[in-house]
Amino acid sequence: MPTPSLSELRVLAVVPAYNEQASVGRTVRELQESYSDLDIVVVDDGSVDETARAAQRAGALVCQLPYNLGVGGAMRAGYRYALRHGYDVAVQVDADGQHDPTYLKALVDALDSADIAVGARFAGEGDYHARGPRRWAMRLLAFTLSRLAHTQMTDVTSGFRAANRRAIRVFADHYPAEYLGDTVESLVIAIRTGCTVTQVPVSMRIRAGGRASQTPFRASLYLLRAVVALGLALMRKWPTALETLSEDDL
Protein backbone atom coordinates (compact mmCIF):
# COMPACT_ATOMS: atom_id res chain seq x y z
CA MET A 1 0.00 0.00 0.00
CA PRO A 2 1.62 3.28 -1.04
CA THR A 3 1.80 5.65 1.87
CA PRO A 4 0.91 9.21 0.96
CA SER A 5 3.35 11.81 2.15
CA LEU A 6 2.68 13.41 5.49
CA SER A 7 1.15 16.57 4.10
CA GLU A 8 -1.49 14.59 2.24
CA LEU A 9 -2.62 12.68 5.29
CA ARG A 10 -5.94 13.75 6.71
CA VAL A 11 -5.50 13.70 10.44
CA LEU A 12 -8.25 13.87 13.04
CA ALA A 13 -7.63 14.48 16.72
CA VAL A 14 -10.24 12.87 18.94
CA VAL A 15 -10.46 14.39 22.39
CA PRO A 16 -12.69 12.55 24.88
CA ALA A 17 -13.78 15.05 27.51
CA TYR A 18 -15.83 14.60 30.66
CA ASN A 19 -16.30 17.76 32.72
CA GLU A 20 -13.12 19.37 31.45
CA GLN A 21 -14.34 22.91 30.87
CA ALA A 22 -11.19 24.31 32.47
CA SER A 23 -8.67 22.58 30.23
CA VAL A 24 -10.44 21.51 27.04
CA GLY A 25 -10.16 24.92 25.37
CA ARG A 26 -6.42 25.10 25.93
CA THR A 27 -5.96 21.52 24.71
CA VAL A 28 -7.83 22.33 21.48
CA ARG A 29 -5.82 25.50 20.85
CA GLU A 30 -2.54 23.70 21.50
CA LEU A 31 -3.56 20.97 19.07
CA GLN A 32 -4.34 23.54 16.39
CA GLU A 33 -0.85 24.99 16.76
CA SER A 34 0.89 21.65 16.86
CA TYR A 35 -0.14 20.37 13.46
CA SER A 36 -1.24 22.18 10.34
CA ASP A 37 -4.58 21.18 8.86
CA LEU A 38 -5.67 19.19 11.84
CA ASP A 39 -9.35 18.51 12.37
CA ILE A 40 -10.32 18.24 15.99
CA VAL A 41 -13.43 16.57 17.34
CA VAL A 42 -14.10 16.82 21.04
CA VAL A 43 -16.37 14.04 22.25
CA ASP A 44 -18.26 15.52 25.18
CA ASP A 45 -19.00 12.45 27.26
CA GLY A 46 -22.18 13.69 28.91
CA SER A 47 -20.52 16.52 30.80
CA VAL A 48 -22.63 18.60 33.14
CA ASP A 49 -20.41 21.65 32.84
CA GLU A 50 -19.57 23.91 29.91
CA THR A 51 -17.15 21.49 28.23
CA ALA A 52 -19.01 21.47 24.90
CA ARG A 53 -19.28 25.24 24.76
CA ALA A 54 -15.61 25.71 25.66
CA ALA A 55 -14.51 23.25 22.98
CA GLN A 56 -16.72 24.89 20.37
CA ARG A 57 -15.35 28.33 21.18
CA ALA A 58 -11.84 27.05 20.76
CA GLY A 59 -12.85 25.97 17.27
CA ALA A 60 -13.28 22.23 17.64
CA LEU A 61 -16.10 20.09 16.33
CA VAL A 62 -18.14 18.80 19.22
CA CYS A 63 -19.86 15.44 19.41
CA GLN A 64 -22.14 15.54 22.42
CA LEU A 65 -23.10 12.20 23.88
CA PRO A 66 -26.49 12.21 25.61
CA TYR A 67 -25.07 10.70 28.81
CA ASN A 68 -21.77 9.53 30.21
CA LEU A 69 -20.43 6.42 28.49
CA GLY A 70 -16.85 6.43 29.69
CA VAL A 71 -13.72 6.87 27.61
CA GLY A 72 -14.44 3.74 25.59
CA GLY A 73 -17.81 5.01 24.38
CA ALA A 74 -16.47 8.44 23.60
CA MET A 75 -13.54 7.00 21.67
CA ARG A 76 -15.61 4.58 19.65
CA ALA A 77 -17.82 7.49 18.60
CA GLY A 78 -14.65 9.37 17.64
CA TYR A 79 -13.28 6.48 15.59
CA ARG A 80 -16.63 6.09 13.85
CA TYR A 81 -16.53 9.72 12.91
CA ALA A 82 -12.99 9.25 11.57
CA LEU A 83 -14.04 6.20 9.57
CA ARG A 84 -17.13 7.79 8.06
CA HIS A 85 -15.32 10.94 7.09
CA GLY A 86 -12.42 9.07 5.56
CA TYR A 87 -9.57 10.22 7.76
CA ASP A 88 -6.20 8.58 7.30
CA VAL A 89 -5.15 8.98 10.91
CA ALA A 90 -7.02 9.39 14.19
CA VAL A 91 -5.08 10.57 17.22
CA GLN A 92 -6.50 10.22 20.70
CA VAL A 93 -5.62 13.07 23.04
CA ASP A 94 -6.88 13.53 26.59
CA ALA A 95 -8.63 16.81 27.36
CA ASP A 96 -7.01 17.28 30.76
CA GLY A 97 -3.77 18.63 29.33
CA GLN A 98 -1.75 15.57 30.31
CA HIS A 99 -0.84 14.84 26.72
CA ASP A 100 1.55 17.29 25.12
CA PRO A 101 0.33 18.03 21.56
CA THR A 102 3.89 18.72 20.41
CA TYR A 103 4.34 14.95 20.28
CA LEU A 104 1.43 14.56 17.89
CA LYS A 105 3.60 14.74 14.81
CA ALA A 106 5.96 12.09 16.18
CA LEU A 107 2.98 9.78 16.74
CA VAL A 108 1.68 10.33 13.23
CA ASP A 109 5.15 9.79 11.76
CA ALA A 110 5.47 6.51 13.64
CA LEU A 111 2.51 5.15 11.66
CA ASP A 112 4.89 4.68 8.73
CA SER A 113 5.98 1.44 10.32
CA ALA A 114 2.92 0.37 12.32
CA ASP A 115 -0.88 0.58 12.46
CA ILE A 116 -0.99 2.02 15.97
CA ALA A 117 1.49 4.31 17.70
CA VAL A 118 1.24 4.61 21.48
CA GLY A 119 2.76 7.57 23.26
CA ALA A 120 4.64 5.91 26.11
CA ARG A 121 6.01 7.56 29.21
CA PHE A 122 8.76 5.09 29.94
CA ALA A 123 10.47 4.86 26.61
CA GLY A 124 13.34 7.18 27.39
CA GLU A 125 11.38 10.31 28.14
CA GLY A 126 9.11 11.30 30.96
CA ASP A 127 9.46 11.20 34.69
CA TYR A 128 6.69 8.97 35.94
CA HIS A 129 7.49 6.58 38.78
CA ALA A 130 5.11 4.11 40.36
CA ARG A 131 5.73 1.77 43.27
CA GLY A 132 4.15 -1.26 44.91
CA PRO A 133 1.11 -3.03 43.45
CA ARG A 134 0.59 -0.34 40.88
CA ARG A 135 4.09 -0.89 39.56
CA TRP A 136 3.53 -4.68 39.47
CA ALA A 137 0.32 -4.14 37.55
CA MET A 138 2.06 -1.97 35.02
CA ARG A 139 4.91 -4.46 34.72
CA LEU A 140 2.47 -7.32 34.16
CA LEU A 141 0.52 -5.39 31.55
CA ALA A 142 3.66 -4.21 29.80
CA PHE A 143 5.17 -7.70 29.77
CA THR A 144 2.06 -9.42 28.41
CA LEU A 145 1.33 -6.79 25.80
CA SER A 146 4.96 -6.77 24.66
CA ARG A 147 4.82 -10.51 24.12
CA LEU A 148 1.58 -10.18 22.17
CA ALA A 149 2.74 -7.26 20.07
CA HIS A 150 6.24 -8.68 19.45
CA THR A 151 7.66 -5.31 20.37
CA GLN A 152 8.69 -3.48 23.50
CA MET A 153 5.64 -1.93 25.17
CA THR A 154 6.24 -0.05 28.39
CA ASP A 155 3.15 2.09 28.92
CA VAL A 156 0.11 0.24 27.69
CA THR A 157 -2.39 2.27 29.71
CA SER A 158 -1.43 5.40 27.82
CA GLY A 159 -4.42 7.09 26.22
CA PHE A 160 -2.20 9.05 23.86
CA ARG A 161 -2.16 7.14 20.60
CA ALA A 162 -2.46 7.40 16.86
CA ALA A 163 -4.27 4.93 14.62
CA ASN A 164 -4.17 4.52 10.86
CA ARG A 165 -7.09 3.53 8.63
CA ARG A 166 -6.77 -0.14 9.41
CA ALA A 167 -6.80 0.45 13.17
CA ILE A 168 -9.54 3.09 12.90
CA ARG A 169 -11.66 0.45 11.27
CA VAL A 170 -11.11 -2.01 14.10
CA PHE A 171 -11.67 0.59 16.81
CA ALA A 172 -14.82 1.95 15.16
CA ASP A 173 -16.26 -1.49 15.68
CA HIS A 174 -14.63 -2.77 18.86
CA TYR A 175 -13.73 -0.36 21.57
CA PRO A 176 -14.52 -1.67 25.06
CA ALA A 177 -16.24 0.62 27.53
CA GLU A 178 -15.11 -1.16 30.68
CA TYR A 179 -12.41 0.10 33.02
CA LEU A 180 -8.97 -0.52 31.48
CA GLY A 181 -10.81 -1.88 28.46
CA ASP A 182 -10.36 1.40 26.67
CA THR A 183 -6.59 1.13 26.90
CA VAL A 184 -5.37 -2.42 27.50
CA GLU A 185 -8.14 -4.45 25.95
CA SER A 186 -8.42 -2.24 22.89
CA LEU A 187 -4.73 -2.88 22.22
CA VAL A 188 -5.26 -6.61 22.58
CA ILE A 189 -8.15 -6.44 20.14
CA ALA A 190 -6.09 -4.47 17.66
CA ILE A 191 -3.21 -6.95 17.85
CA ARG A 192 -5.57 -9.89 17.53
CA THR A 193 -7.13 -8.40 14.42
CA GLY A 194 -3.72 -8.14 12.85
CA CYS A 195 -2.69 -4.56 13.59
CA THR A 196 0.92 -3.81 14.40
CA VAL A 197 1.79 -1.59 17.34
CA THR A 198 4.76 0.62 18.05
CA GLN A 199 5.52 3.06 20.80
CA VAL A 200 6.83 6.57 20.77
CA PRO A 201 8.58 8.13 23.77
CA VAL A 202 6.64 11.06 25.17
CA SER A 203 6.68 12.91 28.45
CA MET A 204 3.36 13.47 30.12
CA ARG A 205 2.49 16.68 31.86
CA ILE A 206 0.96 17.07 35.28
CA ARG A 207 -2.77 16.61 35.02
CA ALA A 208 -4.74 19.79 35.44
CA GLY A 209 -7.33 18.27 37.75
CA GLY A 210 -7.33 14.66 38.93
CA ARG A 211 -4.63 12.50 40.50
CA ALA A 212 -3.56 8.92 39.97
CA SER A 213 -4.59 6.43 42.62
CA GLN A 214 -1.74 6.33 45.12
CA THR A 215 -2.97 4.69 48.32
CA PRO A 216 -1.90 1.04 48.73
CA PHE A 217 -5.51 -0.11 48.74
CA ARG A 218 -6.38 1.64 45.52
CA ALA A 219 -3.14 0.49 43.97
CA SER A 220 -3.95 -3.12 44.87
CA LEU A 221 -7.42 -2.71 43.48
CA TYR A 222 -5.85 -1.42 40.30
CA LEU A 223 -3.64 -4.51 40.11
CA LEU A 224 -6.64 -6.78 40.57
CA ARG A 225 -8.63 -4.98 37.92
CA ALA A 226 -5.67 -5.05 35.57
CA VAL A 227 -5.33 -8.81 36.00
CA VAL A 228 -9.05 -9.35 35.42
CA ALA A 229 -9.18 -7.02 32.43
CA LEU A 230 -6.09 -8.59 30.89
CA GLY A 231 -7.29 -12.13 31.52
CA LEU A 232 -10.66 -11.39 29.94
CA ALA A 233 -9.08 -9.62 27.01
CA LEU A 234 -6.85 -12.59 26.30
CA MET A 235 -9.63 -15.15 26.71
CA ARG A 236 -12.27 -13.40 24.69
CA LYS A 237 -13.13 -14.34 21.19
CA TRP A 238 -12.23 -11.61 18.75
CA PRO A 239 -12.40 -11.73 15.00
CA THR A 240 -9.03 -13.22 14.03
CA ALA A 241 -8.83 -11.51 10.68
CA LEU A 242 -10.14 -8.13 9.76
CA GLU A 243 -13.77 -9.02 9.38
CA THR A 244 -15.24 -5.89 10.85
CA LEU A 245 -18.23 -4.08 9.44
CA SER A 246 -17.97 -2.45 6.08
CA GLU A 247 -18.24 1.30 5.93
CA ASP A 248 -21.79 1.08 4.59
CA ASP A 249 -22.91 -0.92 7.59
CA LEU A 250 -21.59 1.55 10.09
Binding site: Q56, L61, V62, Q64, Y67, G73, A77, Y81, A177
Partner: protein
Protein backbone atom coordinates in the same frame (compact mmCIF):
# COMPACT_ATOMS: atom_id res chain seq x y z
CA UNK B 1 -49.37 -33.42 52.61
CA UNK B 2 -52.59 -31.45 52.55
CA UNK B 3 -50.85 -28.08 53.12
CA UNK B 4 -48.32 -28.85 50.38
CA UNK B 5 -51.12 -29.65 48.03
CA UNK B 6 -53.04 -26.46 48.73
CA UNK B 7 -49.95 -24.21 48.69
CA UNK B 8 -48.66 -25.68 45.44
CA UNK B 9 -52.06 -25.36 43.85
CA UNK B 10 -52.50 -21.75 44.95
CA UNK B 11 -48.98 -20.83 43.89
CA UNK B 12 -49.16 -22.29 40.42
CA UNK B 13 -52.68 -21.08 39.72
CA UNK B 14 -51.77 -17.58 40.90
CA UNK B 15 -48.70 -17.57 38.64
CA UNK B 16 -50.72 -18.75 35.65
CA UNK B 17 -53.40 -16.11 36.21
CA UNK B 18 -50.79 -13.38 36.61
CA UNK B 19 -49.02 -14.43 33.40
CA UNK B 20 -52.30 -14.58 31.52
CA UNK B 21 -53.21 -11.12 32.70
CA UNK B 22 -49.78 -9.64 31.90
CA UNK B 23 -49.87 -11.16 28.44
CA UNK B 24 -53.38 -9.89 27.87
CA UNK B 25 -52.30 -6.37 28.77
CA UNK B 26 -49.24 -6.80 26.58
CA UNK B 27 -46.91 -6.12 29.50
CA UNK B 28 -44.95 -9.33 29.06
CA UNK B 29 -43.32 -10.62 25.93
CA UNK B 30 -44.21 -14.13 24.81
CA UNK B 31 -40.63 -15.33 24.78
CA UNK B 32 -40.38 -14.72 28.53
CA UNK B 33 -43.91 -15.83 29.31
CA UNK B 34 -43.44 -19.26 27.71
CA UNK B 35 -40.74 -20.10 30.21
CA UNK B 36 -42.78 -19.08 33.24
CA UNK B 37 -45.87 -20.89 31.95
CA UNK B 38 -43.81 -24.07 31.74
CA UNK B 39 -42.55 -23.53 35.30
CA UNK B 40 -46.08 -22.88 36.60
CA UNK B 41 -47.40 -25.98 34.80
CA UNK B 42 -44.65 -28.13 36.31
CA UNK B 43 -45.46 -26.76 39.77
CA UNK B 44 -49.12 -27.54 39.18
CA UNK B 45 -48.33 -31.13 38.18
CA UNK B 46 -46.18 -31.65 41.26
CA UNK B 47 -48.83 -30.09 43.52
CA UNK B 48 -51.65 -32.24 42.16
CA UNK B 49 -49.59 -35.44 41.80
CA UNK B 50 -46.92 -35.42 44.54
CA UNK B 51 -46.07 -38.95 43.43
CA UNK B 52 -44.24 -37.51 40.40
CA UNK B 53 -41.79 -35.75 42.69
CA UNK B 54 -41.30 -38.87 44.86
CA UNK B 55 -40.70 -41.02 41.80
CA UNK B 56 -38.24 -38.49 40.38
CA UNK B 57 -36.38 -38.33 43.72
CA UNK B 58 -36.18 -42.14 43.79
CA UNK B 59 -34.84 -42.22 40.25
CA UNK B 60 -32.11 -39.68 40.96
CA UNK B 61 -31.39 -41.16 44.37
CA UNK B 62 -32.35 -38.19 46.51
CA UNK B 63 -33.64 -39.37 49.92
CA UNK B 64 -35.89 -36.42 50.76
CA UNK B 65 -38.02 -35.50 47.72
CA UNK B 66 -38.35 -31.89 48.92
CA UNK B 67 -34.57 -31.49 48.56
CA UNK B 68 -34.81 -32.33 44.90
CA UNK B 69 -37.50 -29.70 44.56
CA UNK B 70 -35.37 -27.08 46.36
CA UNK B 71 -32.33 -27.95 44.29
CA UNK B 72 -34.28 -27.75 41.05
CA UNK B 73 -35.91 -24.47 42.07
CA UNK B 74 -32.65 -22.80 43.09
CA UNK B 75 -30.87 -23.89 39.92
CA UNK B 76 -33.78 -22.57 37.90
CA UNK B 77 -33.66 -19.19 39.63
CA UNK B 78 -29.89 -19.03 39.24
CA UNK B 79 -30.27 -19.70 35.55
CA UNK B 80 -32.89 -16.99 35.25
CA UNK B 81 -30.68 -14.39 36.96
CA UNK B 82 -27.71 -15.25 34.79
CA UNK B 83 -29.89 -14.95 31.73
CA UNK B 84 -31.12 -11.57 32.91
CA UNK B 85 -27.55 -10.37 33.43
CA UNK B 86 -26.81 -11.49 29.91
CA UNK B 87 -29.82 -9.67 28.53
CA UNK B 88 -28.93 -6.57 30.50
CA UNK B 89 -25.40 -6.59 29.11
CA UNK B 90 -26.78 -6.84 25.61
CA UNK B 91 -29.15 -3.96 26.24
CA UNK B 92 -26.35 -1.86 27.70
CA UNK B 93 -24.27 -2.49 24.60
CA UNK B 94 -27.19 -1.45 22.45
CA UNK B 95 -27.95 1.72 24.40
CA UNK B 96 -24.25 2.55 24.26
CA UNK B 97 -24.28 2.23 20.49
CA UNK B 98 -27.43 4.34 20.28
CA UNK B 99 -25.91 7.04 22.50
CA UNK B 100 -22.80 7.17 20.31
CA UNK B 101 -24.89 7.36 17.18
CA UNK B 102 -27.03 10.15 18.62
CA UNK B 103 -23.89 12.12 19.45
CA UNK B 104 -22.57 11.63 15.92
CA UNK B 105 -25.91 12.58 14.37
CA UNK B 106 -26.06 15.76 16.42
CA UNK B 107 -22.61 16.61 15.15
CA UNK B 108 -23.63 15.94 11.54
CA UNK B 109 -26.68 18.15 11.91
CA UNK B 110 -24.52 20.89 13.37
CA UNK B 111 -22.08 20.54 10.47
CA UNK B 112 -24.78 20.78 7.84
CA UNK B 113 -26.58 23.66 9.44
CA UNK B 114 -26.05 27.09 7.82
CA UNK B 115 -23.54 29.04 9.89
CA UNK B 116 -26.01 31.88 10.54
CA UNK B 117 -28.04 29.47 12.62
CA UNK B 118 -25.04 28.41 14.65
CA UNK B 119 -25.88 27.71 18.24
CA UNK B 120 -23.10 29.83 19.66
CA UNK B 121 -24.70 33.14 20.66
CA UNK B 122 -21.31 34.81 21.17
CA UNK B 123 -20.48 34.32 17.51
CA UNK B 124 -17.02 32.99 18.30
CA UNK B 125 -17.35 30.16 15.87
CA UNK B 126 -15.64 30.81 12.57
CA UNK B 127 -17.96 30.58 9.58
CA UNK B 128 -16.80 27.80 7.24
Amino acid sequence: MKANYVLGLIGSLFTLTLLFELLRRRRLREKYAVFWVIVAMATLVIAVFPATLTTAADLVGVEVPANLLFFGASMLLLGVSIHQSYEMGRLEERTRTLAEEIGLLRLEIELNRPSSMSEDPDGHQDPP
